[in-house]
């Protein structure tokens, strides 16, 4: 305290100077329009640069939220498209037409747990019964087939991944339409096997493999992957190795596709089996 008083006594003129100069500069800055503008502009040019950097960083951390909302929007847009144009060949239709039905519904979801290294791989998504999920809905990621929902709780669903040796999917070669049965051999998480393509069919490495829609789970024309390698596996069929389009290790945002007409199709088919 004594030191402080000594200090104040010794430098009293300096302190008075700083106070008075501060008052003067404050008046200068606030009362004069010109000076005020220049100060604000000067400060802003410094802070705006800084703010830009902060904003950049912050938007990077928000990417997760942003992509979630985009994926949600995507799903709702797909739903809308499907409602507006049920099929392409039907160019003219009445808006109140009762024959016209929405065929598929789209819902976005996020993968909360996943595995690729087992023989029977499943993944869990954060939407369940309360969000309208049910079993036998198709799961796609980036427009490519990822799996099928096999069980639902209120808020979560478990989907059987494409990488499950029990998984069977009807798939076809996009270029010529020949279809076969797709399954996984449990070896490499980047490769699935397409069987039952007859040997007279011509196709090449790199041809796209897509879903057929016969199973009433996946809509037709969903990409699965591309032909990586093929060989004659005895009999009359090719065994085609398909490299999957999705990276299942990075599966994150998915769309769940519900087939609204599935019951009808299955019901009808059952009558003849």
């Amino acid at each position: 305290m004594r030191n402080l008083l000594n200090f104040l006594a010794k430098y009293n003129h300096l302190i008075v100077f700083i106070i008075l100069e501060g008052i003067a500069l404050y008046m200068l800055g606030t009362a004069n329009n010109y000076h005020n503008t220049r100060i604000v502009r000067g400060i802003r040019s410094v802070t705006s640069n800084f703010e830009k950097r902060v904003n950049n960083t912050r938007s990077y951390f928000q990417l997760r939220t942003i992509s979630q909302s985009l994926s949600r929007e995507n799903a709702s847009l797909r739903s809308t498209i499907d409602r507006i144009s049920p099929n392409a060949e039907q160019l003219f239709f009445s808006v109140t037409d009762t024959i016209r039905h929405q065929h598929y519904t789209y819902t976005s979801a996020e993968v909360v747990s996943n595995s690729v290294n087992r023989q029977k791989n499943f993944f869990t998504i954060n939407k369940g019964k309360l969000q309208g999920m049910s079993t036998d809905m198709a799961v796609i990621s980036d427009g490519c087939a990822a799996g099928v929902i096999v069980g639902c709780s209120n808020n979560y669903s478990v989907a059987m991944s494409l990488l499950n040796i029990d998984f069977k999917l009807s798939a076809r070669i996009k270029s010529n339409g020949y279809f076969g049965s797709l399954s996984w051999d449990g070896k490499d998480y980047r490769t699935v096997i397409l069987n039952e393509i007859p040997q007279h069919v011509t196709f090449g490495i790199g041809d796209t493999i897509e879903t057929t829609g016969y199973s009433a789970i996946f809509p037709e024309g969903i990409t699965i992957g591309t032909v990586k390698h093929f060989e004659k596996s005895g009999g009359d069929f090719y065994k085609i190795e398909v490299s999957v389009a999705n990276d299942f290790r990075q599966l994150r945002f998915v769309n769940v596709i519900g087939n609204l007409l599935r019951e009808e199709q299955i019901g009808l088919e059952k009558q003849f089996q």
């Binding site: 008075v16 100077f17 008075l20 008052i23 003067a24 008046m27 200068l28 009362a31």
Partner: protein
């Protein structure tokens, strides 16, 4: 004592009036704006305490600010001048010190001493004032030219006023 304070007050009023009524209206070609009211800071007695000098400086500048409608500008410059005055006095003190007269005076301490004393303080005052006025460094050399020319004119007028003050 009372007499001296009255005298100082009279100088103050005269200088302010001179500045506001006459010198504020002088403007040669935009480069010369003499500010002679700073002479009041020059003429204050030697033994005045530093804090009182600063407060008087502030009030002087503030008076000019109020009259010429430039809040803060002259106050800031004059406070700087008041702050450097004791330092300048210490640096340029004559060999025999400031014993001869309690007030800085050209006729007691010599023309040369007074010229240096006035020039330094007026230059510092004008530098602060003009740079605060333009408030940017873009026209740096143009402003420094204004400072130098205005300082020359102000010092000339201050010396003339000092002659008039003595002649009276």
């Amino acid at each position: 004592m009372i007499n001296r304070i009255l005298r100082i007050g009279l100088i103050f009023i005269l200088l302010i009036l001179l500045q506001v009524l006459l010198f504020n209206n002088i403007q040669f070609s935009g480069y010369v704006n003499p500010y002679i009211y700073i002479m009041f800071i020059l003429l204050l007695p030697f033994e005045i305490p530093a804090w009182l000098l600063l407060i008087i400086s502030f009030l002087t500048g503030f008076t000019i600010d109020v009259i010429s409608g430039t809040p803060g500008m002259h106050s800031a410059a004059t406070v700087v001048a008041g702050f450097v005055r004791p330092i300048v006095l210490r640096v340029i003190s004559p060999r025999e010190g400031y014993e001869l007269s309690p007030n800085p005076s050209m006729f007691i301490y010599g023309f040369r001493w007074f010229l240096i004393y006035a020039s330094i303080i007026v230059f510092i005052h004008h530098t602060t004032l003009f740079y605060l006025e333009v408030f940017r460094l873009a026209d740096f050399f143009r402003t420094i030219l204004r400072v130098i020319l205005s300082t020359a004119f102000s010092v000339t007028f201050i010396v003339l006023l000092e002659y008039i003050r003595k002649g009276k």
